[in-house]
Amino acid sequence: MSYVSSAVLEVRDLRTYFHLPEGTLKAVDGVDLTIAPHQTVGVIGESGSGKSVTAQSILQIVPPPGAIETGAINLRRSDGRAVDIAALNPRSAEIRAIRGAEVSMVFQEPMTSLSPVHTIGAQIVEAIQLHIEPDRKKARQLALDMINRVGISNPAQRFDEYPHQLSGGMRQRAMIAMALSCSPSLLIADEPTTALDVTVQAQILELMKELQAQFGMAIMYITHDLGVIAEIADEVNVMYLGRVVERASTVELFKNPLHPYTRRLLKSIPRLGGRGRGRLDAIRGNVPVPMNPPPQCGFASRCDEFIRGKCDAAVPALVDMGGDHYARCYLHSEESEPVYA
C-alpha cells in the first residue's frame, strides 16, 4: 500500500470479525480513519457500533475469537518508518514495542487496567523502563514528573500508593500519566470519563486538552456522549453497526448533520436548557447485533426515510458531500460500497 501522508495513523477498510458457533459477528465492517498529530478525532457510537473493537484492532488486542479479517492500519513510527499493524503478529516484538509506547490507551474503568497489587509509581516506572529509560533512578524521576503533570496532588506520596487508595478521578489521572509516560504519538481514549462524575469529567477533559497542547500527540477519543465529543473533538466519526456512517468537523457535524441516524440521535437526547416536558423524538427499535448482517444499510431497520429495494439491497458508500463532510446514505448519494465477500 502506498503511504505518503503526515498522518500518524491511517486505517483503511478495516474489518474485524468474531467467528462464533452461531455465526459471524461483524464488529468492525469496513472502517477508514485518519488521525494527524495534534488532532483529536472523535468516534461516537452506541453499544455494538464497533468503536471499541476498532481501538482494540489498532493495538492488536482484539480478544479471541475476534481477529482482523482484512484491511490496513498504517502507523507512522517515531523513526519515520510506516508499519502496517494489521499485518503484524499480535505477539511480535514490533507490536509490543508500539503498544504502550507509541500508541497507548486509556480505558473507561481504571481499575481493570491498573494492577491492584503494585503501587501507582511502580506501574509507571515499569512502562518507562521497558520502553525508554532502563535506568531505574532516571525512570523514577520521569514517573514522578508525569504524576505531577497530570495534576495528582502530593505526587511523592501518591507514587507509593496503591490504586485502591485513590479516588476515581485520581485513578483516571494515574492512567493518563501511565499512558503518556512514554510520549506516545497516538493516545486512544476509550470512554475515559464515562464512569466519572460530571465535575470530575470536566477536570479530566481539561487536562487532556492541556496535555495535548504540551505533548502534541494525536488523540482518538471514543465515547457515546454527544456532549463530550462536541467538547473535545476536532473531527467526529459517527459509527453504527461496524461502519462509519458520517464524518465531518465537529462544528459542521452538529450544525448540519446529514445521516438520518446522526440527525435522529441529536434530536432524541434531552439537551440542557431544553426545559419543556414535550415528548422526545425517540428512535424506534433497538440497536441490532451485527450477527451475519445482510448486505444493506445498518440503520435500515430503524430509519424513517428507508427506501425499499434500495437501502436493503446494498451498502451505501461513504461519500464526500463537500467540505470534507462524509455521509453513508442513499439520500445523499447513489454510490454503493463494493461487495466484500
Binding site: 452506541e46 453499544s47 479516588s167 476515581g168 478521578g169 485520581m170 462524575d197 460530571v198 465535575t199 470530575v200 469529567q201 470536566a202 477536570q203 477533559l205 481539561e206 457515546h224 456522549d225 454527544l226 456532549g227 463530550v228 462536541a230 467538547e231 465537529t250 462544528v251 452538529f254 450544525k255 435522529r264 440521535l265 441529536l266 432524541s268 437526547i269 434531552p270 439537551r271 440542557l272 436548557g273 431544553g274 426545559r275 419543556g276 416536558r277 414535550g278 415528548r279 422526545l280 423524538d281 425517540a282 428512535i283 424506534r284 433497538n286 440497536v287 430503524r302
Partner: protein
C-alpha cells in the same frame, strides 16, 4: 399507548410523600469486636415533599447520598432517623420509616423502585411472566393464575413489550427491553409512587429517549408520582417538575425546574450546570472547574461542606453550616450568600 405526555398530564395534587429530617448513618466498624469508629453520614437530615402526579428530580454526584435516600424512602434499607410520611389511597397517612414488618407488607404495593442496571436487577432464572407477576402474587392482589396472566399481558402491552414473549427469559432481551420489563414489574401492583434510581443511565443514547417517553406516558395515564434520581442533568431537566440538588448527604438546593436551571442559588448547582458538556460546539460556556472531589461523608469538612471547592467561600463558610432558607418563592438553598451571589444558570435553548 396514551397520547402525548405533555398534553395528557394531569394536574398536580396534594402532598403524597413528606420526608422529614431523614438520616441514614452507616457505622464504620473496625477490628475483631467490630467496635464503631465513626459514622458515614450518607443521608444527613433531608426534608422535602412530593405532590401527587409530580416528578421530583434528585441530582448529585457519587457519594452525595441520593441512592441511599431513595432506598430509605422505600424501606429497602432502614433509615437511622426521621420520618417518611406517605398518604395511602384511603387518605390515611403512615410513616414508612416507623412501620413494623407486618404493617410494611400491607403498604408496600403503593411504592416501588426501578433500578439502574437492567442486567442485574432481573432474576435470570425467572421468565418475564414470573418477574412481572411476582409483585402481584406477593401483595396478594390477584390469586387466579388466569387473571394474573391477563394482567401481565396488559402490563407488557402498556410498556411496549411483545406479549408473545411472555415465557422468555431476561437474557433474550436487549437493555432497553429489560428496562421495560423492570417498569412493567414496578407497575404491576398499581403503585402511587415510583422511585427511579438512574433508570435510564445504563441505556444506549437512542434507547434513553424511548424509556423517558414511556415513563411520561405512564405517569399521565396512571397519575404516577416519580422521585427521579439521576446524575444526568439534561435528563433531569427534561423530566422533572422540581429538582433537588444533593451534596454529601444533604440537600443544598431545591426549586422548580425552571428556576433551578435558570437562576441557581447555590454555587455547587452553578458549577454542576456549567460542567455539563453541551452538544453545540459553537457555544462555549465559561466552565467552572471545581477543584478537588466530593467530600468524604465519613469526615466532612467543617462549616459548609462545599466550602473547600467553592470559589465564593468566605470565613463564615469555614466555620458555620448554612441554614436551609427559602430564598425566593418555592426556591430553597443552603448557602450563606444565596441572596447576594449572582450565579449563572443555563439559558433556555431556543
Amino acid at each position: 399507548m396514551p397520547e402525548t405526555g405533555a398534553a395528557a398530564r394531569k394536574p398536580i395534587g396534594d402532598v403524597l410523600l413528606d420526608v422529614r429530617d431523614l438520616k441514614k448513618h452507616f457505622p464504620i466498624e473496625k477490628g475483631f469486636f467490630r467496635s464503631v469508629r465513626g459514622q458515614v453520614k450518607a443521608v444527613d437530615g433531608v426534608s422535602f415533599s412530593i405532590r401527587e402526579g409530580e416528578t421530583l428530580g434528585l441530582v448529585g454526584e457519587s457519594g452525595s447520598g441520593k441512592t441511599t435516600l431513595g432506598r430509605c424512602i422505600v424501606r429497602g434499607i432502614e433509615p437511622t432517623e426521621g420520618q417518611v410520611i406517605f398518604r395511602l389511597p384511603d387518605g390515611e397517612e403512615v410513616d414508612i420509616a416507623a412501620l413494623d414488618k407486618k404493617a410494611l407488607r400491607g403498604v408496600r404495593k403503593h411504592f416501588h423502585m426501578i433500578f439502574q442496571d437492567p442486567y442485574s436487577s432481573l432474576d435470570p432464572r425467572m421468565s418475564v411472566l414470573d418477574i412481572i407477576a411476582e409483585p402481584i402474587r406477593n401483595n396478594r392482589i390477584l390469586s387466579d393464575s388466569r387473571e394474573i396472566q391477563d394482567r401481565v399481558r396488559e402490563l407488557m402491552d402498556k410498556v411496549g413489550l411483545d406479549i408473545q414473549h411472555l415465557n422468555r427469559y431476561p437474557h433474550a432481551f436487549s437493555g432497553g427491553q429489560r428496562q421495560r420489563i423492570g417498569i412493567a414489574r414496578s407497575l404491576a401492583p398499581s403503585p402511587l409512587l415510583i422511585v427511579c434510581d438512574e433508570a435510564v443511565s445504563a441505556l444506549d443514547v437512542s434507547i434513553q429517549a424511548q424509556i423517558l417517553n414511556l415513563l411520561e406516558d405512564l405517569q399521565a395515564e396512571f397519575n404516577l408520582t416519580f422521585l427521579f434520581i439521576a446524575h444526568d442533568l439534561s435528563v433531569v431537566e427534561h423530566i422533572s417538575d422540581r429538582v433537588g440538588v444533593m451534596y454529601v448527604g444533604q440537600l443544598v438546593e431545591m426549586a422548580d425546574t425552571e428556576s433551578l436551571f435558570s437562576q441557581p442559588k447555590h454555587p455547587y448547582t452553578e458549577a454542576l450546570l456549567s460542567a455539563v458538556p453541551t452538544t453545540d460546539p459553537e457555544i462555549k460556556m465559561e466552565r467552572i472547574i471545581l477543584p478537588g472531589e466530593v467530600a468524604n461523608p465519613a469526615a466532612p469538612p467543617s462549616g459548609c461542606y462545599f466550602h473547600p471547592r467553592c470559589r465564593y467561600a468566605q470565613d463564615v463558610c469555614r466555620t458555620d453550616a448554612p441554614e436551609w432558607n427559602e430564598v425566593a418563592a418555592g426556591h430553597f438553598a443552603a448557602c450563606h450568600f444565596a441572596n447576594e451571589l449572582a450565579l449563572r444558570g443555563v439559558e433556555q435553548a431556543p
